[in-house]
Amino acid sequence: MLDELQKIREKFPFRYVEVRKHVVNSRVISLMNGELLGVYGEEEKGYSVRYFNGSLFFTSSQDPEDLKPSGEVLEGWSKELIDSEPSAGHYEVEEKAALNSMGLKEKIQLLKEMSKEVLSSDIRSKINNFVLTYSESVESKELVVNEAEITGRVPRVLISYNIVMSGNGRTVNAWSELGESGGLEKLKDLKVQDHLLERVKSLDEVLQRGKGVTPGKKDVVLSPVLSGIMAHESVGHPFEADRVLGREFAQAGTSYLAVQEIRDVGSSVVNVADDPTITGSLGFYLIDDEGVRARRKLLIKEGEVNELLQDRFSARKFNTTSNGSARASGYDREPLVRMSNTFFVPGEMNLRELMEDVKDGIYFKTYMEWNIDDMRLGQRYIALEAYEIRDGELGGPLLFPVLEGKTTDFLRAIDGVDDSLELFPGTCGKGDPDQGIPVSMGGPNMRLRNVHIKVI
């Protein structure tokens, strides 16, 4: 079937060879304050070969004739790999409403209408600037791994926005994304308009009515936005096996699992999964770029380290099997151990129950800043929209509380998760050359007991 790739494969007489044709076509429409800022198109298309010959070699070009083995003899850091039989097959995400079923003009008009409604919101604060961006893309892959042939096609729709708002002597910047894999039906599913209007009103409330925060130990309830970024940063990244081994030490960093012999990282209600098989997710795939069938991985099970994200090379070093976590962002990037869709697994409580015995706490709804050290231990989140919780009831908006602490302290402080699950889009960076790959992250609402709250 993939004769072109098989011909390239024949030029590489090695035990393990991946040949990939990788195409990403995307279109971006950007509006500023309701007026068209620009339309941008991008086509990335080319071929790559990665092979193992004492060390890992990777070569890429748009012209398959350029792809040839190189002559260096090197004793590499990776000495072996799990060379289990690759899985052949095809995976695809359906466009229920094709991305091209609406013309560019109509899409721009739709975005204009959304912008107009946002800009005419009945609020007391001023919207200084509102940039709304729509992106659509289709990622297609053809792979030959040893002899197995694999094809995949994933369309994606993404809305991102940046709002600068001022009022009551304060200014806020809010940036966020909504997105899923699929066709134009996602614009409806994501309820973009409702989200934007609610967001602007909520930011107005923060600016106009926000109260200062008293620092100290408090109970905190994190929304799925916060539990999502925590799942990605504090669990997903440090559970990448190549990172634990040190392969990203000079780039995206290390992992607390590389330096601490710990199994119980969280309380018994903490379960974190990475699952590429979720329909509609941004990190969807069914066979990875090393030809290994994808599956759901439970990274943390009832608070204990259960499984790392593995590729063929890390799995050999851990004496285990690959769980299908190797992906590359484009034709000129090597496959690396990557997250797909990483989330805290929901529990059985509801949000009301999470809050009802909180006497003095804070609900973190969205954040404006986060960061984490390169061991993925010390982290910081500054709320953009946060609300007081007093005697079990949700109160008024608070001004920018800071949650800062260690991963293990936070995961051990979680004593309740509700039964909801929301996923949010993200782009995950790693490798050199750097490669940003589409992922989703999320979770339920989660309650953390007695954590330290700071102020800016």
Partner: protein
Amino acid sequence: MDALKNVDQYAILEISSTSLVVKVVESKVEAVQRLKDRYFNVLLRKGRKFLVTKVTSMDNLEGNLAILDNLPDSKVVPSVLERSGKFSFSKTDQGIMNFMGDASRVAPLLNSRFPIYGTLTSTVITKRLVTSSGFEGEETRTWFQGYFRAKNGDYSGQWAFASTDYDERKIKASLERAEEFASYTGKIDVSDGVYDVILSPLTMGNLMMSTAYLASGYSIITGNSFLSNKRIGEQVASEKFTLRDIPKGEELNSWEFDDEAVPTMNKSIVERGKYVSPLLNLEVAEVMDMKSTGNAGWVYPRPWTLEVSPGEVGEGSLMDGNVILFNNNWYTRFQNRTEGQFSTVGRDATLVIRNGKPVGVAGRVRIADKLGNLLSNIYELSKERYSVAWWDAPLPGVYPYALIKNVHLSKA
């Protein structure tokens, strides 16, 4: 192409590059990557309609031309300079070309006390720009860059270099400095508070990259910059501080013309603490009633390569007294670009220096402050400067060490 006759203005920017990237893990070569890329960035403009598209072949442009007619007018429209004629520039280094042919040369260079991690990258890059005004420019450059992180148990040090020629001494010097930082041991607890800090050239590289992007005219007109509400000539930083964009120099990412065929120029963004200029392309300059600074980017102006002017003291004398020195940082995140409020996490050796001597290494402390405060509180800069770029500070630049007073640190 005949089809291009149907537009008012066009620009075709072809980028061709060949790179060798050698990734090093535990002082061994982990991956040898050879990457060959060629793509065309195309700007098409008809009145106030425009389209920017990236294609792998000019044959794929036809569909885009059809789209253009159906677009509404845009608010900010990219333009190209009325400049015709041919321009050609080439500056390549044979040492870099030789290195690209044989990655096995890396292995003997990795002798070190501690396990070394990092990347060496060599690139030959050609940029060609053809515009509807009759400009045909071509420029070829070679780049060589690397960064190393040395691991000494729980401690680490990192350094980098960025160069336009192959020089093994730069590799060796980077390894040595990474090892020197990694050799400091002993943990010292640093609590939240206000400290005098020294930022290494690597840390400066990260924060100056942010500063330069916030000085882009696009960031300013959209209100997404702490410079948005500053007047030209206003004091925004310490008098000791001068930040320049220097594409006409010898540094990596130097170029002779920008994406709109405007000749690049060296210019100050901040000169002795005074805000001198945003970085501009033709269209953002028009919005701001200014002139292009040769920093296009269509729609989004961007910096090329930066420098912070040197100070008058040796880097060693900055460390007199009680200070905290950041060898490196990462994950710089702004919570509010309008206010310049951000935090960034210390990485590698964050040295606690008391009475002029390193006494240990702080845990992972973060700087949590306003960028404007940092720039205003620059107290002294070293006369030694280093050309650096690394994974989390990819924009090349030449930076001194900086002593900054009263910086807010926070610790998880």
